[in-house]
């Protein structure tokens, strides 16, 4: 410990020795504060402080994401071999290794690109690096298709951090969820790499070129569902869909999809940790689920095609609904800030998510768009809540 401390102290000293290098202090500071809580003391006011800090808060979110990450790695390999029809011939470790080779580079690129931008802004603006991106950097790869080109991840991450966050003033000031901004950027800028039937299973385009598979076998559950709304559905009816994507597979996550989103179970494990430690707002998660379930039930009752007839609970287990609900919608910066507002915000997100997904099949991933819309509405929702508090106070003044 003492040894490490000396290294940091001398590094600070070296940087501080010249005016030119002084501005690079965030570089050392970020690693120093990662290893050591600084010796900063309180001034007047509250002389003692709670042990919590932003690093621990963010770290708990990352820990909550680990089940999704690990399962995502496994499922990436699993889908690859499933489509090839070789599942019976490969071991668990071969599957996991295949997935790791695809997913870990995504994680590395996302962190490298994002932290690079964060450090540049920190040095330029002369402040320390805030911890916000630690979570965004993990969320970005988990909401991407496995076969997205790495350069796209880098570009999207840089776009999201610069335009989504830094132009608003950095961590805590952004309006839109950073990870979803990255995803939405790619979704609209490079739709062929972010949607369709050929991006979800790693190595799919090569398999197709080799004539090993046809394009329909790479579809996601949502893709197949959306085809119900077209003239030539991929599947006959809801029963055929449920046979292909059983509820259990959807819940456990053995279906194609974005890297970390497929397993509802892993999302629920993450949610349990976040709720248990009080990091995520139960108000958002609860109302988001309620909103989604209600919309899915309404469309259930409307019926009329294979998509609408899928049971609501199964509907919520596929696609990014659970992942978005647990990890994206609960982002405290972009969610509503008032407790009452959180209910409205969450409900809006879930409700719109399923609505967009089902009624506008051009955007099968409606959850991403719905959360971004809810992010935009969050300040308005808060405004209404706060205005009612103000009115209550004014009313009291009048009655006196």
């Amino acid at each position: 410990m003492k040894f490490l401390r000396n290294i940091f102290d001398s590094a600070h000293k070296t940087l501080n020795s010249s005016e030119k290098t002084k501005k690079f202090f965030p570089l050392i500071d970020a690693f120093d504060t990662l290893m050591f809580t600084p010796n900063h003391v309180t001034s007047n006011g509250s002389h003692v402080r709670d042990a919590i800090d932003l690093k621990r808060t963010m770290m708990l979110v990352i820990i909550a994401l680990v089940p999704c990450l690990l399962f995502g790695i496994y499922n990436t390999g699993y889908q690859h071999f499933r489509v090839l029809g070789e599942l019976d011939n490969v071991s668990f470790w071969e599957i996991a290794l295949k997935g790791a080779f695809v997913v870990l580079p995504l994680v590395v690129v996302s962190y490298a690109a994002g932290l690079f931008v964060e450090f540049i802004f920190a040095i330029k603006n002369g402040h320390t690096v805030q911890e916000g991106f630690l979570v965004s950097g993990m969320l970005i790869p988990l909401c991407m298709p496995a076969d997205v080109p790495l350069w796209m991840v880098a570009v999207a991450t840089i776009f999201a951090v610069v335009i989504g966050k830094e132009v608003f003033g950095g961590t805590g000031m952004n309006i839109l969820n950073v990870a979803l901004t990255a995803r939405a950027f790619l979704f609209f800028a490079h739709p062929t790499k972010m949607s369709g039937n050929e991006v979800w299973v790693t190595g799919f385009s090569k398999m197709k070129a080799d004539g090993l598979v046809d394009s329909s076998s790479g579809a996601t559950a949502l893709g197949d569902l959306a085809s119900f709304m077209q003239d030539t559905p991929a599947l006959e009816n809801t029963q055929a869909f449920q046979a292909k994507y059983s509820f259990m597979d959807s819940f456990l996550g053995f279906i194609p999809g974005s890297v970390g989103e497929t397993s509802a179970l892993m999302c629920l494990i993450g949610a349990a940790l976040l709720l248990w430690t009080g990091i995520a707002s139960w108000r958002v998660i609860f109302s988001f689920f309620l909103g989604g379930f209600l919309m899915a039930t309404i469309l259930n009752l409307v019926g009329g095609n294979g998509y609408f007839e899928l049971p609501a609970i199964h509907q919520l287990m596929i696609g990014g609904f659970m992942f978005g609900m647990v990890f994206m919608a609960t982002d405290p910066v972009t969610a509503a800030h008032t407790n009452a507002g959180k209910f409205v915000y969450g409900f809006l997100g879930g409700f719109l998510g399923i609505l967009i997904r089902m009624v506008n099949p051009a955007y099968p991933e409606g959850i991403m768009l719905a959360i971004l819309i809810a992010n935009v509405f969050a300040p308005l929702i808060d405004h209404v809540v706060i205005q009612s508090n103000i009115n209550r106070r004014l009313k009291r003044l009048k009655t006196v």
Binding site: T37, G45, L54, R56, R393
Partner: protein
Amino acid sequence: MKITVKKGLDISMKGVPDKIMSEASLSTHYALKPSDYPNLTPKLLIKEGDEVKCGTPIFCDKYNDVVIFVSPASGLVDKIIRGEKRRILAVTISSDGNFTQLNTKPKDYSNLSREELKSDLLTSGLWPLIRMRPIDIIANPKDSPKSIFISSFDTNPLSPDYDFIMHNKSAEFNAGIELLKILGKCPVNLQVRNDSDDVFLNAENVEKNVVKGPHPSGNVGVQIHEIDPLNKGEVIWYVNPQDVMIIGRFSLTGVYDASKVICVGGENISDKKYLKTISGSSINSILKDSVVSENSRIISGSPLTGEIVEIDGFLGNYHHQISVIPEGNTYKFFLNDGWLSPGFSRFSASKAYPTWLLPKSKTYQFDTNLNGEERSFVVSGQYEKVFPFDIYPVQLIKSIITNDIEKMENLGIYEVSPEDFALCEFVCTSKINIQEIVRNGLDLIYKECM
């Protein structure tokens, strides 16, 4: 009236003072510090070397010169300590040990008019003990308050127990209340707990309200909010129970006797007990018989709201406790002591540390480390859990940061004081100095709107 405060937090700190009453050694020097009184610009009425008695005016409020501040002891004016821009930091008096009084004639105040009583309290130097909400400054003698609040208990960590201090002091306490009643011409609200001492439960001429709940239920701000909320244009006065007693003593004897009992607590002081002392006494005299550990911070007041004092400093006029806690000016390695440690020995209101799983009776070591670095507002809903007002704390703080007076008014700035935000500051993940921000906001409102 019965009130249950639901939101809040009791901080279980090590070093709670034992219920032992002893006599502090008599201070050789006393100080009056203008910094004890927010927003005060003092105007000196004496010069160094002048002879003073107990009750001799030392300085007055430059903009309201009827409000005077008097010497707690007799002797000579020792030093006028000035800081930047010749701002007066303190006036010290070297005591002759005799406590000769300027005035010794008691009056029968029950027959006096409000105006006569007011002018007597002003000239006696007791007026500054009466403070007002909004703004949380010394009461303005020109105001007519809508009620007066006295909180008979303090819920701060390591705080003094007034039930213990004021046991059998009914005569002085009731005499004080009688004067306040004449002075305010309004109801006097005394907040008690179910098991308060008889001095409070049997107090006369007051509306008693039974309050339950964690800190900050003992803060008058919370009590006012629950019992008689403040609106723009209204004023409420409040007085600490021991200060009521000092006023009562004046009523009974006619002398300015600022002696009071304070408690000394905290992990880094050897004797944790209650001490009889006098307002403005030197910290040296109070801590004389105890050992202060090395690398300690001495706080005049509570660890949540008090002020740093040096060992050669002086007790604050509104403070009834001294807390001595370890300085946290050391690095904490992240795995064993820092942000990624299991944290069984670290106190946190958040569930990210295991505090909430451990028995409530466990007490914790605290030091003055910030436990992190200042950050932007990120976590939401955190302040609301410990802030028992129908006010949105984060939004109010943001309106203060942006100097938006209209928004501050709308969001309820008239109802709060910095101490009401002490717990928000304590729990803040982003380590923002909220009490300072609130004080600045109140100062701005005072300048622009009062």
